[in-house]
């Protein structure tokens, strides 16, 4: 089934340049190559049925009926050797510590702005900068309790950070479910490996949330706040609530009285100490942010500022997600930690910088231009496949509002074998590891590997035809 496999001139996770499998992939390659197609197909159907019956689905908004879909699951696991993982882990820890210090700084002393490393106007013009948070203390000075950082590999196999998701990153439930299903349909593949367990993620998350409770009582009331059953990530919210044994609440279940948050129970009102909220700042409190929000809880922000309820993540972390702030993260690491960044950024042209802007406008057809507040693959221009009209149009937009755009060279994401029809073909992948930050950072061993199932596509988002793989961090292969 590997007969027609092509390397396509980019970095391949499984094969080295001469089409021999890399050492850590040898056992998996051996087993997959020996399978016949019908067997593989049977296992795939088994996996799909498991996903469907367990209701592991996401909702597609574009469909009028809001149809539930299975997140396509690719049975070929992605393998990361432990030594390689160690570097990634260190790099991610370093990054989340720096980002967190940055959050604390911009909402307090603003040293980094005063010393001129990050232009103040950039921060004050950021859509997700929250003035309401200035001089508000958060428990343990931690802002980003859960972070999902997107990593990609360039053509030489170097890991690069593509973006940070410091607000409410989703997808972790798929990581856990993928592993469960993988064990069910392909137990044989695990035999030659020691794969690091990821089962403790919900436990770690719960510990992290417990530490936020005001008096560190033994039995704080912790809840997950979801926008509701129609949200595309609803499955995950419910999954995490189940795994941690905490209550899943909607905005309408909560009420603020005298700056304390309560939930409505059959026995009356019950005080809530910690909220793991899966709704954006914008919708959290109609009295403070968007007044048309019916997802939030009026008065929540006051209760939060009084310290009567803890939120994870803190309000205002979106400032780290701003793509115009992203190019400054390596500077932050040097500034706050006096260390060199372990994981590098993709080189980024800031349109607010005069020289960079000039370069961007001259080289539009080679670059990827991204809106600084877009996500999910929306609001971007792939210069190399755009028409001259589209380019001219985008150039106008950039010139009129340079703050809103950054540009990067196209990164040729690494590829990984996926079963397409009857044989294996290379498809582009990325990796989103999840980092928890309680007393200290904990990085989940692995993460969500997303795969662009369309041939030659570079977009891995589930909303645009992406699937996912199980991701293994393995000790040295026996």
């Amino acid at each position: 089934m590997f007969d027609k496999y092509k390397l396509n001139g980019i970095f391949d996770e499984m094969f080295s340049a001469d089409l021999t499998p890399r050492p850590h992939y040898e056992p998996v390659y051996g087993q997959l190559a020996g399978l016949d197609q019908a067997d593989f197909e049977r296992r795939r159907r088994m996996a799909d049925l498991s996903f469907r019956n367990q209701g592991i689905t996401f909702t597609v908004y574009s469909d009028e009926s809001g149809v539930e879909r299975i997140f396509p699951f690719d049975l070929v696991p992605r393998i990361v050797p432990a030594a390689e993982w160690q570097t990634i882990e260190k790099g991610l820890e370093q990054r989340i510590i720096a980002l967190n210090m940055f959050c604390h700084d911009v909402y307090h002393e603003q040293r980094i702005l005063r010393e001129g490393l990050v232009p103040p106007e950039l921060i004050y013009s950021a859509q997700m900068f929250r003035r309401e948070m200035i001089h508000v203390s958060v428990p343990n000075d931690v802002y980003i309790h859960v972070c999902g950082t997107d990593l990609i590999r360039d053509k030489d196999g170097n890991y690069l950070v593509l973006e940070d998701n410091a607000r409410t990153p989703s997808g972790v439930s798929y990581v856990l479910e993928n592993r469960t299903i993988m064990k069910r349909v392909f137990p044989g593949l695990f035999e030659s490996y020691r794969v690091r367990s990821i089962e403790d993620y919900p436990y770690n998350l719960l510990q992290c949330l417990k530490e936020l409770a005001q008096y560190h009582s033994d039995d704080p009331t912790i809840v997950i706040l979801t926008p509701g059953i129609f949200n595309s990530a609803y499955f995950e919210h419910s999954f995490l609530a189940r795994q941690m044994g905490v209550e899943l609440v909607e905005g309408k279940d909560l009420i603020v009285d005298n700056n304390f948050v309560y939930m409505r129970t059959t026995a009356g009102m019950r005080r809530v100490d910690v909220i793991y909220r899966r709704i954006d700042d914008d919708f959290l409190d109609p009295l403070c942010f968007r007044s048309d929000s019916i997802l939030g809880v009026p008065g929540m922000m006051n209760a939060y500022r009084c310290g009567n309820v803890a939120l994870a993540n803190a309000v205002g972390t979106g400032v780290c997600d701003d793509k115009a702030v992203y190019p400054y993260v390596p500077e932050m690491i040097k500034f706050y930690l006096s260390e060199e960044p372990i994981l590098n950024n993709v080189h980024t042209y800031k349109c607010t910088d005069k020289d960079d802007l000039k370069y961007v406008l001259e080289h539009m057809s080679e670059l990827v231009v991204k809106s600084t507040n877009g996500s999910g693959g929306y609001g971007m221009l792939m210069g190399f496949e755009a028409s001259p009209d589209e380019i001219a149009d985008f150039a106008r937009k950039i010139k009129s509002d340079p703050r809103n755009f950054i540009a990067q060279h196209v990164v040729q994401l690494s590829q990984h074998p996926s079963l397409i029809d009857s044989h294996f073909e290379g498809r582009r992948i990325d990796l989103r590891p999840y980092i928890l930050y309680g007393k200290k950072p904990v990085v989940m061993a692995g993460g969500l590997t997303r795969v662009a199932l369309e041939k030659n596509s570079l977009v891995v988002n589930s909303s645009q035809g992406g699937g996912s793989k199980d991701t293994w961090v393995v000790e040295d292969v026996r």
Partner: protein, 381 residues
């Protein structure tokens, strides 16, 4: 600050279908909401068990109720389709009456879409081709109270509280739901009615068994029990009511009908209540109207009769009330307790002849009152 939240909560849409209960709208307690909130803020600190969100309790309740309802609809339609085979030979004129009886049990006879169906003379025609296939599939797929509608509602409720039910419960219900979807579902109901209807009744029973064995028997489980038994008691009342009515109106008195025909009818009623075997064993096949009514309404042991269900519902609500506010007397508990006593100490003369209709009506009114009281006390915080 708090007022805003409360105002918002009013617009929340309940997934439940409370129409039937609103018919006899009796407020549970006149105690104002504000009063209740103040009290419960005081109480909450010493509640031992884990509190339960009102929204979750409500979804739990409706999930369970809809599953039970789907089971009854499936059984009633299946049993009646089968009966038509026998009736077709003995009394063709009974067939139409039979279907209208089914519609009455399901409170569908006054619905516009059903009226249309009837006017189009479909029932009469279809029912004459023995199984009334298309009618059965109508009951399963299309009507606003169809089996698929109930299962979908049950799943929607379950989906909104997945973290509160066991994974096994969810998977059972979800599997049942997926069995009833697809473009060919109507075809399957027409071609293999037996199999499809059985899969629903068995699916419901499996779900209830799984719930009993995986959910801690605490508040949330008690809400499922409460809902299940309220639904069951109500359904049995309707079945008994309608069947006695058909037989009575046939010729003024039960005995005037041919014995075989009468027996088919009585056995159909027992089967619709899932009680035929239990009855046969107890009364050795003596199909006497008084014994039948006594068995389906007043028997203490069979879990498929009204008294047993009311008693089980009363136990459930007593458990909930005790864990929520031990000091107060719960309105729904009061209603169900009284009803239970009434059934326990009823005499056969209360349920024989013309008295039966009134007796059944009274039970149903009490059941509706209890549902409203539950809603006011637990869901509308």
């Amino acid at each position: 600050m708090g007022c805003g939240g409360r105002a918002l909560s009013k617009e929340f849409q309940r997934l439940g279908d409370t129409n039937t209960q609103r018919l006899s709208a009796l407020g549970a307690s006149s105690q104002s909401k504000a009063e209740r909130i103040v009290q419960s803020v005081l109480v909450q600190q010493n509640t031992a068990g884990r509190p339960m969100l009102s929204r979750v309790a409500e979804a739990m309740y409706w999930m369970s109720r809809y599953v039970e309802r789907a089971e009854h609809i499936a059984r009633i339609v299946l049993i009646n389709s089968n009966m038509l085979i026998d009736l077709g030979e003995l009394a063709p004129e009974m067939q139409e009456k039979q279907w209208i009886g089914v519609l009455r049990i399901l409170r569908l006879d006054q619905r516009p879409e059903v009226q249309e169906f009837l006017l189009a003379d479909k029932v009469a025609k279809e029912s004459r081709c023995l199984l009334g296939n298309s009618f059965a599939s109508f009951m399963a797929v299309e009507s606003s109270k169809s089996i698929i509608h109930c299962v979908t509602k049950a799943r929607e409720n379950a989906r909104s509280i997945r973290e509160n039910i066991s994974a096994e419960m969810w998977e059972t219900l979800n599997t049942l739901y997926w069995n009833l979807t697809g473009d060919d579902v109507r075809y399957r109901f027409e071609e293999y009615p037996q199999e499809m209807f059985l899969s629903v009744t068995m699916g419901s029973m499996l779900f209830q068994g799984v719930a009993d064995q995986t959910l801690p028997h605490a508040q949330s489980w008690q809400f499922t029990q409460l809902a299940k038994y309220l639904e069951r008691a109500d359904m049995i009342c309707r079945i008994v009511d309608t069947n006695f009515d058909i037989l009575q109106s046939a010729d003024g008195s039960y005995s005037a009908m041919d014995t075989p025909l009468r027996n088919i009818q009585w056995m159909g009623m027992l089967r619709s209540c899932c009680s035929i075997e239990a009855y046969q064993r107890k009364h050795l096949g003596d199909l006497d109207p008084q014994k039948l009514a006594g068995f389906l309404l007043l028997d203490a042991e069979s879990p498929r009769n009204v008294r047993y269900s009311v008693n089980a519902a009363r136990t459930a609500i007593a458990g909930i009330a005790a864990s929520v506010h031990p000091q107060q007397v719960d309105q729904a508990e009061r209603i169900l307790g009284r009803l239970n006593a009434q059934l326990e100490y009823a005499e056969l003369k209360h349920i024989s002849g013309p008295a039966l209709t009134g007796f059944l009506r009274e039970i149903q009114d009490h059941l509706a009152d209890a549902s409203i009281a539950i809603e006011n006390a637990y869901f509308l915080h």
